[in-house]
């Protein structure tokens, strides 16, 4: 997968986030503060601009610019978390012109660890980790399998009681709602198929 692939991926994510913006915000209204869609839309719009302003020449540069821009523009919990995810991916793939499926899968494993460390969340805490963690091993086999795993993981957050992020303040009242961050993570993974 070359630089163009990663640019297509990020473009697809940007498009999906824009399309699903209100849905993500609605999910966040139920158990958060009604801004998750707006946050990611603001962030990826800035990413789009950053990538257009100074087109990166390696896969690593695409991913690092994406991560840094998200950290600089999103704020909230998702800014540092998604920012760390993409920056870790960028560091892990290294300065190469092409990234193998295996190398990408390995980079995602490192990114998952970094995000879990930053947010100190575990699987089952009803966060983006619940979509990311099951997808990572599947990335070795196929994007389709990873996308399915992420989507299933996101859906599986519905009956969970949140233990991290704003939703945790709701205690048992967080049960019965799908986590917005897990939902957007499923979208990010799913967009790999379109790239």
């Amino acid at each position: 997968m070359d630089t163009a692939f990663f640019l297509r991926w990020i473009a697809a994510v940007t498009e999906r986030v824009r399309a699903d913006r209100d849905h993500l915000t609605d999910l966040d209204r139920a158990i958060g503060d009604a801004d998750h869609g707006a946050n990611l839309d603001r962030g990826f719009t800035a990413v789009e601009e950053a990538l257009a302003a100074k087109p990166p020449e390696t896969p690593s540069a695409v991913l690092t610019t994406t991560g840094t821009t998200l950290i600089r523009k999103v704020g909230g919990a998702s800014g540092p978390l998604y920012g760390t995810l993409f920056r870790t991916l960028g560091r892990a793939v290294g300065e190469v012109p092409e990234v193998s499926q295996e190398a990408l899968a390995e980079a995602f494993a490192q990114a998952l660890a970094a995000v879990m460390k930053l947010g100190s969340a575990q699987e089952g805490d009803k966060t983006m980790i619940d979509a990311l963690a099951p997808a990572v091993p599947e990335l070795r086999t196929s994007f389709d399998a990873a996308a399915r795993a992420a989507l299933d993981g996101a859906r599986a957050t519905t009956p969970m009681r949140a233990r991290k992020g704003r939703a945790s303040y709701l205690g048992d009242r967080s049960i019965g709602h799908q986590d917005p961050g897990a939902t957007s993570t499923a979208l990010v993974i799913d967009a790999l198929r379109a790239a």
Binding site: A34, D35, V74, A77, G79, P80, G119, Y169, L170
Partner: protein, 330 residues
């Protein structure tokens, strides 16, 4: 959604422009979203930086000035600011004695301030962070992100700000901030949800006879939904929750805070009940604030924040302050 705004995307910069026009004592960088004292950093004084999502006005920008903050970093509505803002603010207020970051305990605020503090430290700045986590409605356990930071933020900013103004070193100012937080507790009640402009509809729906108990300051629903009751009983629920966590005694600083759409008249009615409750417990409200200080956009409701005072805290509270939203002694 009827809001006195120009466009959903312009609310934060338009608010900052209005603040800049209204308060010549502030230097407002609308582009980078940083609010500073116009006078610049005070050499030798510890700098105080806070920030968080917008929509809580006058928190934080309204508390920038002599005796309180040196800088505020307003994020998007209910969204914590980004590290760039905090880094710029930290640089701008460093008078050589280091900088205190006052961070409300939310994942977003914590993570972004952490990143900022790391980068500042890498560049050689002396930064200490303190977390504010005063909301008794949230169980503080390994199963939550910990207690939320709400009304006590004002108390921390005021008293740590006074100590910094008096020339105390960074460690002492940080210790004072932690002391104030440790002695402070809050509990919030919503009569209506608020509407985030970008979302366009209320964050939750409440029936005509329902209230939410134990809300935070971001339009989140609370811990439970209950039947509407008279002021005396609602105040009792809030005060009981605080008292169970940190029993009242001695001198107490009380803030009865409106969430944005509750008239002052009603806040005074509530304050009368708080005062009576404390007497019953053998404690005394020796200092108070009644009004809108830490709000949630257009939410109807109120919160009570208390702080157990001693002579030192009382004198720090009484120390002169000159900010847009809090002013006495000069």
């Amino acid at each position: 959604m009827k809001k006195l705004i120009n466009a959903v995307g312009d609310v934060v910069p338009d608010t900052l422009r209005g603040m800049a026009a209204a308060h010549p004592s502030l230097r407002v960088d609308v582009e980078n979203r940083i609010v500073l004292r116009a006078a610049g950093p005070t050499p030798g004084k510890v700098g105080l930086v806070s920030g968080g999502g917008s929509g809580h006005e006058p928190l934080h920008a309204g508390f920038v000035g002599y005796g309180m903050l040196d800088a505020a970093c307003p994020g998007e509505i209910f969204t914590s600011p980004v590290p760039d803002q905090m880094i710029e603010a930290t640089k701008a207020v460093d008078g050589g004695a280091g900088v205190l970051h006052i961070v409300k305990n939310y994942t977003g605020d914590v993570l972004n301030f952490e990143m900022a503090a790391e980068l500042c430290a890498e560049e050689g700045a002396h930064v200490v962070s303190v977390l504010v986590d005063d909301d008794v409605a949230v169980q503080d356990s390994t199963y939550t992100a910990g207690r939320r930071g709400t009304g006590a933020t004002l108390f921390v900013e005021k008293m740590a700000g006074a100590l910094a103004e008096q020339g105390a070193p960074l460690e002492a100012v940080a210790a004072m901030a932690r002391t104030v937080d440790a002695r402070s507790r809050s509990f919030g009640v919503a009569f209506s949800a608020c509407t985030v402009p970008a979302a366009g509809k209320p964050t939750f729906d409440l029936g005509p006879d329902e209230i939410e108990l134990g809300i935070g300051i971001h339009g989140e629903p609370g811990r439970s939904r209950e039947r509407f009751r008279e002021a005396r009983e609602i105040v009792r629920v809030a005060m009981d929750a605080i008292d169970a966590d940190l029993p009242f005694s001695g001198d107490v600083l009380v803030m009865v805070n409106g969430m944005g759409a509750t008239p002052l008249m009603e806040l005074y009615v509530a304050y009368g009940e708080v005062d009576a409750y404390l007497r019953e417990k053998g404690a005394t409200a020796t200092r108070c604030l009644v009004g809108d200080y830490v709000t949630s956009l257009d939410m109807a409701g109120f919160s009570i924040t208390t702080c157990l005072l001693d002579a030192e805290l009382t004198s720090l509270w009484d120390h002169p302050v000159e900010t847009p939203a809090l002013r006495w002694g000069r």
